[in-house]
Structures are given as structure tokens and as C-alpha cells.
Amino acid sequence: MRLKTFSGGLHPPDSKEFSAGCPIEDCPLPEELVVPLSQHIGAPAKPVVQVGDRVLRGQVIGESGGFVSVPVHAPTSGEVVAVEPRLHPSGRELPAVVIRVDGEDSAAEPMSALDPATAEPDALKDRIREAGIVGMGGATFPTHVKLSPPPEKPIDTLILNGVECEPFLTADHRLMLEEGEKILDGIAVLQRILGVEKTYLGIEANKPDAIDQMSALCSGRNIEVVPLEVKYPQGAEKQLICAITGREVPSGGLPMDVGVVVQNVGTCAAIADAVLRGLPLVERIATVSGDAVVQPKNLRIRVGMSLAHLVEICGGTRVEPAKIIMGGPMMGMAQLSLDVPATRGTSGLLLFSEEKVVRRPEGPCIRCARCVQACPARLLPTTIAAYTRLDMMDEAEQLGALDCIECGCCSYICPAALPLVQTIRHAKAAIMARRRKG
């Protein structure tokens, strides 16, 4: 059978073999956690603890700063030693709560458990917000917002994203293998909230064991497991919706415009913990991999652990890393140092040696059109980039710069090593800034 997929895209080596066979390990607690108050898209949380306070695992340390915001919780027990700006994975210094870990890992009183079969959808959504749940595929958009479409946008389809199309990452893969039931519990909550007719779980065909496992678990539950072609960016929200349902999210629109909500499987598991067990989101699964790491692993990490700590747990580095990436190699963020904390969006940590990092000098564009063929948004990346370099933003906007999903296919495939996606991102920022000015 021909597997479902989208148009465009490319096939980077998936490099998942280094960690796909490693069962999830609990990452031991370090001596100190740096918990950023900005771990989501939207307003940062406001700190509600002071230096000297003793906090327990799951206790709120930062209050939600608005509707598009979520609270932040203490990942373990200990003493607050600082509330100050610290280096954040985004490269800026952002407010964070620093906790000296006491090692007891004492938990605060959990929130009351809710029964998804009987609880009101609004109560479930409130719980998801209180538990600080955000999109854990890496986008970290507050989940309760995604689950609150306006009434004029009826949702008929829920899609679970177990694609994990980024090379190297195996966190969602291991989660589906080892904690599939938890994902199902989360799906039940989402189905209850959205009242959808149809639920799909999309998994790339390079994870046959996860497809088998989830198919067995989902049978008889009105959830269809859809194996998808192995192609990047198969897990991009709009491409995934198109592959599974054939619907195209309109330009400038959201999945809800075509009646769909997409949630990552990791988010689903977190929702299950929050609703059924009253536990806020303070931990997640992350893949530590790359050729500079001694022992690649899938770790259950607490939010606020430093990247250096994760590397240490994986046996340290084999050679001096030349490139550090939080997230996947295609869309992840390059890091200046290992001295930054993991967040709710940290799906992976990749360390590469100098020999794996290809640094080529930029050449002239010879209009080979590789980027045009690869672009899943069907744009003309090189033309948009050319206009951007000339500061001709009207033309860049006309060519659809804002439709760019920043998947990075164009930069990856460019034989002239042009920073295409980087240039287009610059254009997007400039266009948005101009719109705000009016």
C-alpha cells in the first residue's frame, strides 16, 4: 500500500538508530534546577515564590500571565535560592526560579483526579491549563488555547502526532512503545473535550514497532493508526493534516479552520497525568544523541535541568562538541553553551563533533530549483530570500514569506549553502513588525 504523505519535503538520513533501542531512563536529580518562567509561547509566568522559600514538587512557582500563558511548577523539592534572569535556550536572559535541590523529591498535594468520562470539558481544559501543559513537540504553544476553538469553528477530527520526523529524536517513539496506555488516557480526555467524530494517530513508517504497539492498543477504541511515509517534515502540523485528511489549512489560517486539532503524543501523556493523577507538567522524555555524546539515551528529565547535566548522565562527551542543538537537527535551536536549562519543549539535545558539522562557504544561487521542489509550503524560497536580501519586503510578502513553516528543507538541500530559511525568517519578522506598526 502507498503510504500517505504531503507534497515536497526531503529525505535526510533519520539517524535514529543511535537511541531508538534505548529504553527510557530516569535522569537523576542535579544539585540545582534553573526553572525558566518562559517555557511556552505567550506571556511569561509571574513568580510567586521568594528567595528562601521551600518548595515541593508540583507546587506553583509562577502564575499564568494571561490567557495565552500557563503556570510554572517546581520540578522537585528544595529551596529557592534566586529569582533572577538566567540564560535561556532562546539565547536571551529571561526570568527564572533557581531551586537548590534537597534530594528528597517530596511532592505537594496533587490536584484532585478527574474522570474524563464524566468531567465537564471546561473543567478538563482548566485542569490542562493549571497543569502547565504546552505543545511538547517543540512549539510549546499552550494546549488549553488550542483546545478552545471559537464556536464558529466546529472540530470534527483529532490528530495525534507520533510522527517524530526530525532525525535523531526517538523520545516520542519510546513513549509510544513504553507508555502507550498513558497516551490513550490522554486521547480519551481530548476526545471528551472536543467531541470529535474521528481520531487518527499518525506515525512514520520507520517506527514499525510503535505502529504495531499502538494499533494493538487502539483497536476497538475509534482511533485509527495511520502509518505515514518517511519524509521530512511529515510531522509539521499542516503537512500532517494534509497527509491524513487531504485537507489543506488555508494560507494564514489555523488547523481549526479545517476542523482539525493536532496534539503531540507527548502532550497527550502529560494530559493523562494532569487529569487522571492531578500531576502538573514538570518532566518529559528527551533524546540525547549526536556523535559527540558517549552514550546516546532517552531520558525522563525534569524541567530546569541544565543541558550539561543531561550530557553528564549520558557519559559525557567523546570530543569537544562543535555544535549543540536543542531539539531536532532540522528545526532545533543551536545553543551557545550547555549551561542552559531544559524546558517543557526540550524534545532532544544533540551534540555534534567538528567532522559532522558541514561548514561550506556560501556560493551564488544558480537557480537549480532544489529548494522549490523541496518546499512543503510550495513557495519559491530562493526568490523570497533574494528579495529579502534587497530589503524588498513587499515582494517577499507577495511571494508568501508568511506561509513559510520554517522547516529548513531549503537550507538543507541548497547546493550553494545559502541560508535560505534563516533569510526568510528574517523577512517574516520584518513583515510582522511592519504590520504591527500599521
Binding site: K238, G253, G259, P364, I366, A369, L380, D403
Partner: protein, 311 residues
Amino acid sequence: MRQVIFALLPACAVAVYMFGLPALVTLVLCTAGCIGFEAGCQKLMRRPVAIADGSAALTGILLAMNLPPSSPWWLSLLGAFVAIVIAKQIYGGLGYNPFNPALVARVVLLISFPVQMTTWTAPTPIGSGLDAVTTATPLGRAKEAVMLHGALPADLPSGFLGSFLGDIGGCLGEVSVFALLLGGLFLLWKRVISWHIPVSFVGTVIVLSGIFWLVDPQRYPDPLFHLVTGGLMLGAFFMATDMVTSPVTTKGMLVFGVGCGLLTVLIRLFGGYPEGVSFAILLMNAATPLIDRYLKPKKFGLVQEKGGAHA
């Protein structure tokens, strides 16, 4: 670039075999000339010398392919100058030239030096013991006969195999359709080029020339003749597919190829020159920015869903 050069080697080998030393000299002069002018220009403009990218060498080989085997030495060097300095570096170098440099050079030479550019030697394979004899190209003879007598010559070579393998007079690159096809298929296989331009180009030539042939076979040669003579194969696989001067979208490539085919047949049958491939490609080069502007791919999210229930 390297793969394109590699793909041209069989055709070069056949040309040297068929035309002997003069062909080799033309090849070497054009290639060395192009590399030399490229390096000179870049030095002069204080830019990094980038002859290692192979683009100048490729232009040189393609230029040689577009010259008669007996070209005098100065014709080759002048061609190299026009191709690299006038048609490429003045516009900003690799990636910025609107027209295919080798074709610009060919057309400049053809218009400026018609005698030297149309003095053809018949193929005298190495070892055949024959001296070089001058001859006319099949396309040239066809044109002449039609102009003078209103009909095709009776003895027009219909031997498909001969022209296919390389036994006809013409430019270096017009000799062996077989060797060019081999290289073209290699490029398709390696995905250096996509099928859109060659197929639409050649397809249009077959269809259009076929229509004329069916209307009046006395006056218009059959499609097969068009296929194996002149620079069609060289043009369709190696010149029209030049990425810098052709559209970036698949729809655009198809339009570009059809346009090339259309113009080629019209010039061959009704134009002043017997061969129209180079003019056709250059004219379509000029149309490329326009094609790219109007034939953009449909952005994701602009396709209306069937039924429009959710649009």
C-alpha cells in the same frame, strides 16, 4: 557541473573520433579560453577566482560543441571571450547571466563570421585514410533546396542510424545523437536535470514538425530527420536545461520547453537560418523571468478543498 561535463564526454569522444585533430584543438582552445577569461575577469574585479567550480570549463566544452570542427583558432578564442566576458562576467558571474553564455557566443560568431561558422567538414573517422572534405549539413541542404526549388532534395540522408550514431557533417555537438542521449540520460538518472525541459522541447519538435510533414512531405522533412540532425539533442539536454537561464518551477519548465520546440521548428522551416535551436533557447532565456513570475506553484493552503465544506 562536474557531472554535466562527465555527461558530455561521450559526445566529445565521438566528435574527436569523427573529425580528428581539428575537433580536439577546438575543444581544448574553447575550454582553456573560457577558464582563462574567467580567471582573468575575476582577478581584474578582485573577486575570488572560482574556476574550480567547473562552470567555465563547462561553458567551454558547450561552446566547442557549437562550433564547426574546422574552426580557426581565433574563432574559438573569440567565442570564449564573448561567452565568459560579455555574456557572463559583465552580468555578475555565475548565477546572474540572463542568457546561456555558450549560446550567446555561438550566435555572435554565427552572425559575425557566417563563412567560418558554416564551413563543414564531412566526418572522416580516424584511420579511414581520407582527407578532410567539405560538405553541407543535412539541415543546410534541406533549407537550400527548399529555398531554391521549393522541395526537399531527393538524396536527403534518411539513414536514421548514420545520423544517430554520428556519421553526419555539422558542429562537434551535432554529430552523434546517440552519445548526447547517453549523456542526457545520465543527467536525468543522476537527477542533475529534470525531464520537464528535454521532454517538452523534443516532444514539441516531434509534434509540430510531424504536422507539417503530414501536410506536405515534399516540402517538410519528417520528424525523425528533425530529431537526429542539428543541435536539437545538445540543446534539449545540455543547453536549455541550464538552470541559471531556465525557469525554477515545473510548470515554467514545461512552458519553456514547449516554447523552445516551437521556435526551433518555426526557424528551421521558415526562418533565414537552417538551424534554430540556439535562437530558440536564447529567446526563451529572455522569457524566463516572465515565466517565473506568472507560473509560480500554488502555495500550500490556496487549494480549495473539494466541496469547500471547511474552506
